[in-house]
C-alpha cells in the first residue's frame, strides 16, 4: 500500500471530515476539518498500519483564524508509507484531544507543544512544561513572542523542595546549644515541633518570604 492509497482509504472512511490529499515533493498531506475527531482518524490510521508516529509539530498562523495548526507525521514501518495529518485549532479553544492512547510517543511531543505554543491536549495524563521550567509564564514559539525573550523571574532557592532527610534523626540542625542538640541520636517529633514552631514564630516574617524567587531574574533591568 502506497502513501496515496492509504490517504484515499482514510478519505473514503471519513468523507467530508478529510480534505483531498495534497502532494508536495512526494509527501501526502490530509487536513482534518474537526480537531475533536483527531483520535478517531489517528486510530484508524494506526489500524491501517501507521504504527510509527514520527513527529508532532505545531504552527502559529499569527493573524489568521484559526490560529493553530497541529501537524502529525505518520509512518508505517512495514512498508515505509508515510502520511501527514493536519488539523486547525481556534485560538479561543486552544485545545484538542491527546493521541497518547494511539501512540505512546505522543506524550513528550504534546508536552512540548503545550510548552512552546500553549496548545492544550485534553486527556493527556501529565501535561506540564518540558523544555522551559515549571512556572514560566510564556510560550516562546508563538509569533508574538520576541526573539530576544521577555524578562522573567528565575526560580530561586524556594523553588526546590527540601531534601526528604531534613528534619529526621542524624541530620544537623543549625542553631542548637550543644552538639547533642545539634545532632541528636534520637529525635522526638513533638519536641522538634515545639522547637521549630518557636523558631518560626521568632522569625515572624519567614512565612512571607517562602515561595518567592530570590532576587531579580538575569534579564530584568536593574
Amino acid at each position: 500500500m502506497t502513501s496515496l492509497e492509504a490517504a484515499k482509504a482514510i478519505k473514503d472512511k471519513f468523507g467530508d471530515l478529510i480534505s483531498e490529499p495534497v502532494e508536495f515533493r512526494g509527501e501526502i498531506s490530509l487536513r482534518i476539518a474537526e480537531p475533536q475527531q483527531i483520535v478517531e482518524v489517528c486510530s484508524f490510521a494506526k489500524s491501517m498500519g501507521f504504527d510509527y508516529l514520527v513527529d508532532i509539530s505545531s504552527l502559529d498562523n499569527y493573524g489568521d483564524d484559526p490560529r493553530w495548526t497541529v501537524v502529525y507525521n505518520l509512518r508505517a514501518i512495514v512498508n515505509g508509507a508515510e502520511i501527514r495529518l493536519k488539523t486547525d485549532v481556534r485560538e479561543e479553544k486552544s485545545e484538542l484531544p491527546s493521541v497518547i492512547g494511539v501512540w505512546r510517543s505522543a506524550n513528550w511531543h504534546e508536552r512540548e507543544i503545550y510548552d512552546m505554543m500553549g496548545i492544550r491536549f485534553s486527556g493527556h495524563p501529565d501535561l506540564r512544561r518540558i523544555l522551559m521550567w515549571e512556572g514560566y509564564p510564556y510560550h516562546p514559539l508563538r509569533k508574538d513572542f520576541p526573539l530576544a525573550g521577555k524578562p522573567t523571574d528565575l526560580p530561586g532557592v524556594a523553588f526546590t523542595r527540601v531534601t526528604p532527610m531534613e528534619g529526621g534523626p542524624f541530620v544537623t540542625v543549625a542553631g542548637g546549644n550543644d552538639s547533642i542538640a545539634r545532632e541528636p541520636r534520637v529525635r522526638v517529633p513533638e519536641d522538634d515541633e515545639v522547637e521549630l514552631n518557636a523558631r518560626v514564630e521568632a522569625r515572624g516574617d519567614n512565612k512571607a518570604m517562602r515561595g518567592q524567587a530570590f532576587g531579580p531574574g538575569p534579564m530584568e533591568k536593574k
Binding site: F24, R25, E27, S29, D51, Y52, L53, V54, D55, S57, S58, L59, D60, V71, N73, I77, G80, E82, R84, W103, R104, S105, N107, W108, H109, E112, M116, R129, I130, L131, M132, W133, P140, L141, F145, L147, R161, V162, P164, E166, G167, T172, V173, A174, G175, D192, E193, E195, L196, N197, R199, V200, R203, D205, N206, M209, R210
Partner: protein, 423 residues
C-alpha cells in the same frame, strides 16, 4: 554611612517546618534521589528524579530542557544558510551528519535533492559515516567508563581525535564544522584527505577489535548488560525510538536503506539488528554499525567521482546561481554573478511555499526537519525531530524495577546527547 540591612535567610529548621507542612506523609521507606542535572553518568544535563525503595528504582521521571536554547525560534528569524552553524550544536558529537541532514532537508524543499553532483554526494556520505563512527565511539567509551571499564574510553578517544583532524582538514573546524551549504559543500576536500581517511580506516579497525576484545566477551560487561532494560519490538515502535535503539530491538528500519538518499543505493552495507532488545543488543548493534561504516568509507574511497585529488575539477555544488554562491573571482568580474551573490547573501535561497519533512539516519537516530515555508529565504516554521529527545521519553517506562547501579548502564545504552534533545 550606609543603612544597615538585615538579611534574613530561612535556616534549615525553618525549611523543615515548611516540609512538615507541605509533605505530611513524608515517605518512610521510599527515598527520592535527584540524579543530575550535573552528573557524570547523565552525559550532559539530563536530570532524573528517581524514587527508590532501597536500591530498587520504583519510579523515574526524566527532566529535560536544561540546555534549551530555542533553536527552532532562532531558525524562524534567519535565512536557511544562516542556520547551518546552529545545526553543529544539535548533536555536537556528530556535527558533520547534522550539517548534511539539514542541507538535504532544505534541498528537498527546493526540489533539487536529486540534482546534487555525484562528488558532493560521496563526500557527504563519507562525512556522515565518519560522524557516525565518532559519535558511536564517544557513546561506547562513556558507556564502558560508566560501567567501570575505563580503558575502552582511552582507546576510543584516541580514534576520535583522528576524526576531528579529518573534520578540520575538510572544513577548517574540529567541532563547529558547518561543512555543507544549501546545494553543495563549503569547499572540496583537500587532495590528501582521502589518503588520511584510508589510513584512519586501517588503524581504526585494529583499535575497534581491541575495544571489542575488552568488552564483548568480558564476563562483567555481559552480566551487567544482558537482559537489562529490554525493549520489545512493539514498545520500540510505540515509543518512536529510532537509530540503533530501534534496531537493537530487532526492527529492520534504517533510513539509508528504507528511504535511500545521497549515493547510499550504490553502496553495499548491512543493517545490524538485535534480537532481544536489551542493553547488550544495543551495544552490539553500535559495534557492528561502526564496522559497516568503515566498509562504506572504503567503497567511497574507491568510487568517489573525480578521484582522490579531483584533477578533473568535478563540481561539489549545484551549478545554479539561484541556490549556491558563485566563485569569488566571478563575483568581482561579472554582473550576473554579483547579483546572485547579493541576493543569496541578503535574502537567502528563495524557497517555494510548501511543507516537507526529511528524516536522516543520524548516529543517534532519525534526525528530522519539518520545514513549513511560505516562500522566501526564511522558514516560517522549522521543527527539529530530535532523536535523543524521543529516545529519552522511554526512560520512565524502562527504569522502574531495575537497581540503582543499572541506571548509568541504561543511560549509556540509550546513547543520547542533551544538546540535541533540548535544542
Amino acid at each position: 554611612m550606609p543603612e544597615v540591612q538585615i538579611i534574613d535567610i530561612g535556616d534549615s529548621a525553618a525549611r523543615a517546618s515548611q516540609a512538615a507542612e507541605e509533605l505530611p506523609d513524608m515517605p518512610g521507606e521510599r527515598m527520592v534521589l535527584n540524579m543530575g542535572p550535573s552528573h557524570p553518568a547523565t552525559h550532559g544535563v539530563l536530570r532524573i528524579v528517581l524514587e527508590l525503595d532501597g536500591e530498587v528504582v520504583t519510579k523515574a521521571d526524566p527532566d529535560v530542557g536544561y540546555l534549551h536554547r530555542g533553536d527552532e525560534k532562532i531558525a524562524e528569524n534567519m535565512t536557511y544558510t544562516q542556520f547551518i552553524p546552529y545545526t553543529d550544536r544539535l548533536d555536537y558529537l556528530a556535527p558533520l551528519a547534522n550539517n548534511v541532514a539539514y542541507a538535504l532537508a532544505v534541498e528537498k524543499l527546493l526540489g533539487v535533492h536529486d540534482k546534487l553532483p555525484p562528488r558532493c554526494q560521496y563526500i557527504r556520505v563519507m562525512c556522515c559515516e565518519l560522524a557516525r563512527i565518532s559519535a558511536h565511539l564517544l557513546g561506547l567509551g562513556a558507556f564502558a567508563m560508566d560501567t567501570g571499564a575505563v580503558t575502552v574510553f582511552l582507546l576510543t578517544f584516541t580514534e576520535r581525535e583522528k576524526i576531528y583532524n579529518l573534520a578540520e582538514a575538510a572544513s577548517g573546524a574540529r567541532l563547529t564544522t558547518s561543512y555543507t551549504r544549501i546545494g553543495g559543500l563549503m569547499r572540496d576536500i583537500p587532495p590528501t584527505w582521502c589518503g588520511q581517511v584510508k589510513q584512519f580506516c586501517d588503524e581504526f579497525e585494529v583499535s575497534l577489535a581491541e575495544s571489542e576484545t575488552l568488552l564483548t566477551r568480558n564476563r562483567i560487561w555481559v552480566d551487567r548488560l544482558r537482559d537489562l532494560a529490554v525493549v520489545s519490538k512493539e514498545m520500540a515502535i510505540d515509543y518512536g525510538l529510532s537509530g540503533p535503539n530501534l534496531r537493537g530491538s530487532g526492527v529492520d528500519w534504517d533510513l539509508r536503506k528504507n528511504q535511500p538518499y545521497l549515493c547510499y543505493p550504490d553502496l553495499e552495507f548491512d543493517v545490524a539488528l538485535g534480537s532481544v532488545g536489551d542493553c547488550y543488543d544495543r551495544y552490539l548493534v553500535r559495534m557492528e554499525e561502526m564496522r559497516q561504516s568503515v566498509r562504506i568509507l572504503r567503497q567511497c574511497l574507491q568510487q568517489i567521482p573525480g578521484g582522490w585529488v579531483n584533477d578533473a575539477q568535478e563540481p561539489v555544488s549545484i551549478p545554479d546561481g539561484k541556490i549556491t554562491l558563485p566563485s569569488k573571482q566571478k563575483v568581482l568580474s561579472s554582473m550576473e554573478e554579483l547579483i546572485h551573490q547579493f541576493m543569496l547573501v541578503t535574502e537567502g535561497v528563495n524557497c517555494p511555499p510548501g511543507e516537507i519533512y526529511f528524516g536522516h539516519e543520524n548516529p543517534k537516530g532519525e534526525l528530522g526537519f519539518y520545514i513549513h515555508s511560505r516562500g522566501g529565504g526564511v522558514p516560517y516554521r522549522l521543527k527539529i525531530r530530535a532523536p535523543s529527545f524521543i529516545n529519552l521519553s522511554i526512560l520512565g517506562e524502562l527504569m522502574p524495577g531495575c537497581m540503582i547501579s543499572d541506571v548509568p548502564v541504561i543511560l549509556g545504552s540509550l546513547d543520547f546527547v542533551m544538546g540535541e534533545s533540548d535544542r
